[in-house]
Amino acid sequence: MSFGNLIKKLQDIMRTDPGINGDAQRIEQIVWMLFLSLYDAKEQEWEIIDKNYVSIIPEEYRWRNWAIDNKDGKALTGDELVTFINKLFRTLKNLEITPDTPVRGRIVREVFTDLNNYMKDGIAIRQMVNEFTKLDLADFQNRHAFNEIYETILKDLQSAGNSGEFYTPRAITDFVTRMVNPKVGDTVADFACGTGGFLVSALKHMTQNDSADTIESNKKLQSAFYGVEKKPLPYLLCTTNMLLHDINNPEIIHGNSLEKNVRDYDEKDKFDIILMNPPYGGNEKKAIQSNFPRELADSETADLFIVEIMYRLKKSGRCGIVLPDGLLFGGDNTKTAIKKKLLEDFNLHTIIRLPGSIFAPYTSIATNLLFFDNTHPTKEVWFYRMDMPEGYKAFSKTRPVELKHLAPIEKWWNDRKEIEDEKKSDDSSVTYKAKSYTVAEIADHNYNLDLCGFPQEEKVILSPEETIKNFIEKREALEKEIDAKLEELKQLLEIK
């Protein structure tokens, strides 16, 4: 069943409950029920493999023992159910954890630490639980369900657009993974893993391409993945996502990897493969910036992540990362220093320019795929501009980008040639869709990596009088805004 429909049904039920106030609480309700039902399905698998498996959840609170409604009038509902659920939360928040508790057990307490039950109407709760019992686990694994759920939730929250939180379209994640080509035996990391899209993509790629498929390879895969995520909800979903994909003790950290000083990293903190789509537009405080060498540190989150990657990529390791235009163009000292270091210490071999609508409908920000490895200094960088496929003016919610749209890039990847754009007329200058530039040429261009880019929207140059008028008008508007805010501040300062 489609998740869009499920979520909608659940939201309709929740609207009747007096305890729920707003979208954030609705999400929490969905998440805890989703988690318990999925966890139970997973436990069924674990019980088959391990006869001695003991659940960390006390028997009476296990999903299978209270959620199923056999329509015989015995299922908990109404006030009884509300009381039961509140007890369940208290119990799960206080589960006893020892250093020996495996991650898959510990997760239950961690998940419930950050969650609450807000619903007061036991009948509504019963209705919701019944919707969940209709789910089929197999659906999840095949359809990157978590990303769908989270994106559905994000869409509804209308909070897409805050702190650069956009989930990378499946096609892009899979493409980047394919080109970086992780193999069984490699360690794979994502320091801003969100719901785990890149990690799962890598896992699938490695399993599909593993000719050996032995117990040995499975063992290697179990400890191959490492993720860090700052926000609690994606962190929960990521951990659960990994569990669902049979990584039993996933190493996903709930935290901010930028809080660690890059000079403190050593071999143990490095990885063979790094895949990421870092958040953009974030503003990092001085405390965070002080974890990076001064000349490479600014307040832009994505920039700091690139520097972190440079300190954590193993020798001969490979990286694929999604980045906005900002760093590519950016001419300030720090951005230039970062690009210089990337070109001097690493082999930045490919940059793919993506069209603005790739992340539709969340944002139209211009993004790029950068591929580099830790083998030798860059000699030349190949640029390739992905143009809109035939029949598409732009990607959208109903017509998103698909892997097949990226097939021409893959074809070009393995047989790289310069591709000139069709000229407008004999006298037009030559522009390129694909071309390689040497490091000397890039240095001469002030490390501005905005090459093989998209046609600019013509910037209209007004007359001098109009330019001045425009400036004065906009300035007045902003000054009014500032004055209003200052006035508010003044009023607040009045002693009460």
Partner: protein, 478 residues
Amino acid sequence: MSTICDDLRAAILQAAMQGKLTKQLPEDGNAEDLLETIRALKSNDKKSKIQLGAVKNNDKPFNIPSSWCWGYFGDLVFNHDSERKPVSKEKRSRDNGQYPYYGATGAIDVVDDYIFDGDFLMIGEDGGNFFVSRDNSFIAHGKFWANNHVHVVSMTNMNINYMKHFLDSCNMPAMGLINGIAVPKLNQKNLNSIAVPIPPFAEQKRIAEKVDELMARVADLEQSADALASLRKAFPDDIKASLLQAAMQGKLTKQLPEDGNAEELLDQIKAERDKLIAEGKIKKQKSLAPITDGEIPFNIPENWKWVKLADITTYKMGKTPQRSDETYWKDDFAWVSIADMPENGTLERTKEKISQKALSEKFNNSLVPKGTLIMSFKLTVGRCSILGIDAVHNEAIISIFPYIDANNSTRDYLFATLPFLSNFGDSKDAIKGKTLNNSSLSNLLVPLPPLAEQKRIVERLDILMQNINVVGDLIASE
């Protein structure tokens, strides 16, 4: 204006600590009583031996309301520094990590166990942010571990948020509390010796909440302030572009009948060109296609004419001698690459130089004379400089020689307008990283005024641009 927001933040904290942000309410009682309670608690606590006593008058930096009192930091909190334990990086890397591991400026790792559980105020000891910002401390909740680079204190009867704001209001270096040159250090003795203005407990909470609310508003204000700053920053370039466009439309200068018209100038140019061809000084080039109405970017005055660059100038591309041959690269003659070219300026020096041998073999023994206009046309398109020295240049640059030039009027006119014109032609579909070639260079469209008006345009632009630079500086520094 972001400094105004910084000033605001500092002022808010100062006012908070002097009791000027909140009303002193009689029902709050007296801070003296609060201090007594704390003293009694501490003297019963075996671990806390420090009793610094009443604050000396010299240590009181400002006046406080009558219901408040002063106390030394060490007397107000329980210090847990002795319970700290560093954990080796090696052990940390082996931990799966579910508890934060705190250092001087915040969480630096995660570990498997915890030594503290509760609400604690953490103040940087070694390597804190004392100079960088006022973020001297942070609050830790729940279970965590701390190393010995951060002080760990707890408190009862003092509001932890108030204490954090108080510490943020302290300029610790200025107060002489920081030692150490390589790694700045706030030791326990100095931390304990800080005099704290103590409001009654209920007022502490009100102050903390008020400060939080105000800081949120300041952050909001900062956004508008930053937008205004960007607008101001963009203005000088915007107005320069619009002036340049107006100049080339003949709108900055008067068209005078005594100037004659561009047709006459063109005839002179053609004559000069034919002369040079006859003398063998330049090669005859195939004639260029005439300019169609559709190609014309904008209208120009009656006595001007749209021409192509090759109609009014001859130009030469340069070369790069083989890098592998070191006999070509000595310190004899300046060799220009785009990175050497100042934007809109005179070029006085180059990073690299070539040898006499290279000049003879690769450049036909001729240097481009000082005073020549040069322009880049690959990758960076349209950057113009005037040579301040004799030099040669690479193949991404052309040196430009107008056929007719009186006192460099045409050279200067092109110097001002080519940056705009070289990017304008295809700007509808301008693609970054574009490269012009011989053909597109020859066919660059230039609006040609009579010589005398060319001179007046250059003079007018000079004055206006100087003016803009002054205005631009003023606006940027507002």
